[in-house]
């Protein structure tokens, strides 16, 4: 499957294999792959299918048990990250590896600084980096401090770092996970420009639309194996999803029937100050959610969504404003009071807030309701009721590899989230707060969570869905609002919104421009 047949591929992987004895997982199973010069190859697959292990093998983090790597036709034995860099590989991680207080130039040339008479030469560094920026068509100011740059620009600094080390093959690990739609579009365009200069790119992702836009070739991995290798336009989103999951996947959730009932959640004039920990606070946020509808809040993470959800969940005090549930004012109530009023909360951080990873599944399943009559009597837990409930959650929500009495720590992200969703959605909550409910999940689990939220809607819950994934909000929500810098724009009716409008609002576009 060499697209540029006859030429030596930039990267050739032959029969790579990696077995982790400690956990008994064959993470990479006989993978062969070629990337041509100037080619963009997207590597897609669900979580835990070996994409990251494969890249770690390339980068010397792990040593392969079998197989060989060739770079520009020459065999490469890579035992460290420095080896990989000297072989012309460059990697941009999801979490940037930058020094915040250094300038762009200082970061790009870290470890290779020019110096004059013993001192670091700022002017020369900025000249070098400016030349590199011009050469690679990236939009950056070498003089700016990295801490002051938006996320998209920080990512460009990372790319520039790899280019400064003369990377001929660039690996981008889930590069759009942290970007706004507009920034993601820019990135796609930039990757194409880089490819035009002869550099090769491996683009790891699980978002199908952007993969279709950026890649010359799409390689699909499942359970450590390459299960598909298709040229651009050779497969539809649905076909790719089926390859990834191994079965048909419902990519779009069905919209609601548009019959919303009484207002169940009402937030008015919510105010919170920005704080030193990076919170933007809330600026006069008002919102109402009715029974039988999903109100989606789109926006780049960290624009006040968490503050809003936490306030409604009773986890954060507002400085001003009111919150009422089903007509009863509950401003400033405790989390327990909020839950008693029928508020369910699918927390963004399932590892620390949504679950106690060191506790068993059945303990987690009743952790929000163990005080109820159903699960305790006179302060004593009713074990049988708890066990039954846990088993019911496992069965209804298809939690795989789980036992009620086992600690949940070892379960995968998707199964952990199913426990949370199962716990929160059981018992017909009036209000469901779903904060980033599918973040980090694979396609199969995402589909599951979407179905569960749709079901809660049709059963009459008022669902507030917060997501950084624009497609998720567009697919599920009946009304859509955007949060930017602590302000809520909207909600607007779903029919009035499309990707471009929401994207513009997410990037801080002012309402009147629309």
């Amino acid at each position: 499957m060499t697209p540029t047949s006859g030429e030596t591929p930039r990267l050739e992987i032959r029969g790579l294999r990696k077995y982790f004895a400690a956990s008994g997982v064959l993470a990479v199973d006989d993978v062969s792959l070629e990337v041509g010069a100037g080619e963009v190859v997207a590597l897609i697959g669900e979580n835990g299918t070996g994409k990251t292990t494969l890249m770690n093998l390339l980068f010397g983090v792990h040593q392969p048990d079998a197989g060989e790597v060739f770079i520009d036709g020459a065999r490469a034995d890579i035992s460290s990250q420095q080896d990989a860099i000297s072989h012309g590989l460059g990697m941009v991680h999801q979490h940037f590896e930058l020094v915040p207080s250094f300038t762009v130039a200082q970061n790009v040339l870290l470890g290779r600084e020019p110096s004059r008479r013993g001192f670091y030469d700022d002017a020369a560094a900025e000249r070098q980096v400016a030349a590199l920026i011009a050469d690679s068509n990236l939009d950056l100011d070498p003089h700016r401090r990295v801490a002051d740059l938006p996320v998209g620009a920080q990512q460009r600094v990372e790319i520039l770092k790899a280019l400064a080390a003369d990377a001929r093959l660039l690996i981008l690990d889930e590069p759009t996970a942290v970007l706004t739609p507009a920034e993601a579009d820019d990135l796609v365009a930039m990757v194409r420009r880089l490819a035009a200069t002869g550099r090769s790119v491996v683009f790891i992702s699980h978002k199908l639309p952007e993969v279709q836009a950026v890649a010359d070739r799409i390689v699909v991995m499942r359970r450590g194996r390459v299960v598909g290798d298709v040229a651009r336009g050779g497969a539809s989103d649905a076909e790719l999803a089926r390859l990834m999951v191994g079965r048909d996947v419902l990519l779009t959730a069905e919209p609601g029937d548009g019959t919303a009932g009484d207002t169940l959640l009402e937030v008015a004039g919510a105010m919170a100050s920005p704080s030193a920990d990076g919170s933007t606070g809330l600026a006069d946020v008002g919102l109402s959610v009715r029974a039988g509808e999903i109100v989606g809040i789109a926006g780049v993470s960290g624009n006040g969504q968490d503050e809003l959800v936490e306030a409604v969940a009773g986890l954060r005090r507002l400085e001003a404003g009111r919150i009422s549930v089903a007509g009863i004012e509950l401003t400033g109530s405790s989390p327990a009071a909020m839950r008693a009023a029928g508020v369910a909360h699918i927390a963004a951080d399932r590892m620390h807030v949504g679950l106690n990873l060191q506790a068993t599944l059945e303990e987690n399943a009743v952790s929000t309701s163990f005080r109820s009559r159903r699960f305790s009597r006179a302060g004593i837990i009713r074990r049988r009721a708890r066990r039954q409930f846990a088993e019911q959650v496992i069965a209804d929500y298809e939690v795989r590899g789980a036992a009620p009495a086992r600690v949940v720590e070892s379960l995968s992200g998707g199964n952990l989230q199913k426990i949370v969703v199962g716990r929160e959605l059981s018992g017909n909550p009036r209000v469901v707060l779903a904060n980033q409910p599918t973040r980090g999940l694979d396609v199969g689990s995402i589909e599951f969570v979407h179905r569960a939220l749709s079901k809660a809607r049709s059963e009459g819950s008022a669902v507030l869905l917060v997501s950084a994934e624009l497609d998720e909000v567009l697919a599920l929500a009946d009304r859509i609002a955007v949060m930017y810098d602590g302000k809520l724009l909207g909600p607007f009716d779903r029919s009035e919104m499309d990707r471009e409008r929401v994207g513009q609002l997410m990037a801080g576009g002012v309402e009147k421009n629309l």
Binding site: S23, T49, N56, L98, L110
Partner: protein
């Protein structure tokens, strides 16, 4: 006798050991290590310095030995860090250990608990041409030995060092060790060298107390100067440009407290002045949210960052193995 000159003189002499300790703290902090063991290094330097000076009759050798003693403790911390020991806890242990060890050695071998006075000459003051003949200046420069000048020179050199390649690397390692490791810098070695250098500098600060300024050693001679040095470094926001004024705040507060004892002020009140200054300084630092974040970060890092450079940050085999 000129009161102003005398006050300035004692202020400078009291600032010197604090400045050494503050520089040691600053270097450690900027390398990403919260070094709370400076007190032990100052005390070890004071003790070893005077022992070697008395044994050899050469004060310079005493100062060098003091630097080595401090550096050795720094090396010990770096080695313990590498095998995963929490440096905060280790530092608390070291501070107590060195104090009790000096008491034990004095009692067992030096014939007393309180004071060890081997009868050496303290290090001579620097004679500055012309100035030392003027009345005001001669009082001002009285008893200011080369170590005093060394402390202030080190502060300037440190500011210059942070503009060199190696200094930039130290700052990068301290602020973003993962980024530094990814750029091919050796995080472990940089932090080790920083701890050793900090130890040597704090040790010299100890030698200034025993060999340099007084010519004898007393029990717990460091008397919290290591801790005050850490406070001074925090007050200076760990920036070389502010380190001298920050250390001087505490040195001159001590000088003022001694001066006030000549008047009819209760001594327990005057003795509170340096401690009060430290308290006020910490409150000021605490009020700056940014630096509070830095302190908290350093605190966390002291127990989390490994000296060994990490190849990859997020993708341990374990996380990859979780079957989905």
């Amino acid at each position: 006798m000129n009161i102003v000159a005398d006050f300035l003189n004692s202020g400078i002499r009291l600032t010197t050991p604090i400045l050494f300790a503050a520089i040691a703290s600053l270097i450690s902090a900027r390398a990403g290590v919260l070094n709370l063991g400076i007190e032990s290094k100052v005390l070890a330097g004071a003790f070893v310095g005077i022992l070697v000076a008395a044994a050899t009759g050469d004060n310079t050798l005493g100062v060098i030995a003091a630097a080595l003693a401090g550096a050795l403790i720094g090396l010990l911390m770096a080695a313990a860090h590498r095998i995963g020991v929490d440096l905060v806890i280790l530092a608390i242990g070291l501070n107590i250990l060195v104090l009790q060890l000096t008491v034990f050695l004095m009692r067992s071998y030096l014939g007393g608990v309180g004071t060890y006075a081997p009868g050496i000459d303290r290090i001579d003051a620097v004679e500055v041409p012309f100035l030392s003949d003027l009345p005001f200046a001669s009082q001002l420069l009285d008893r200011l030995n080369p170590l005093v000048y060394l402390a202030f020179t080190l502060a300037i050199l440190l500011g210059m060092y942070f503009r060199t390649r190696s200094g930039r690397h130290l700052l990068a390692v301290g602020e973003a060790p993962i980024a530094a490791a990814a750029a091919g810098l050796n995080v472990g070695r940089t932090q080790l060298l920083a701890l050793v250098a900090a130890g040597a500098i704090a040790g010299i600060g100890g030698a200034f107390l025993s060999v340099g300024d007084l010519g004898f050693f007393t029990r717990n001679m460091s008397a919290d100067r290591g801790w005050i040095g850490i406070t001074a470094a925090l007050l200076a926001l760990n920036r070389p440009a502010f380190i001298v004024p920050a250390a001087a705040v505490f040195g001159f507060a001590s000088a003022a407290s001694i001066r006030l004892q000549a008047f009819d002020v209760p001594p327990n009140l005057t003795q509170f002045i340096p401690q009060g200054a430290a308290f006020v300084a910490l409150v000021l630092v605490g009020l700056r949210a940014q630096s509070r974040g830095n302190v908290a970060r350093l605190w966390r890092q002291s127990s989390r960052i490994r000296l060994r450079p990490r190849r990859s940050t997020r993708t341990s085999p374990k996380s990859e193995n979780t079957p989905t």
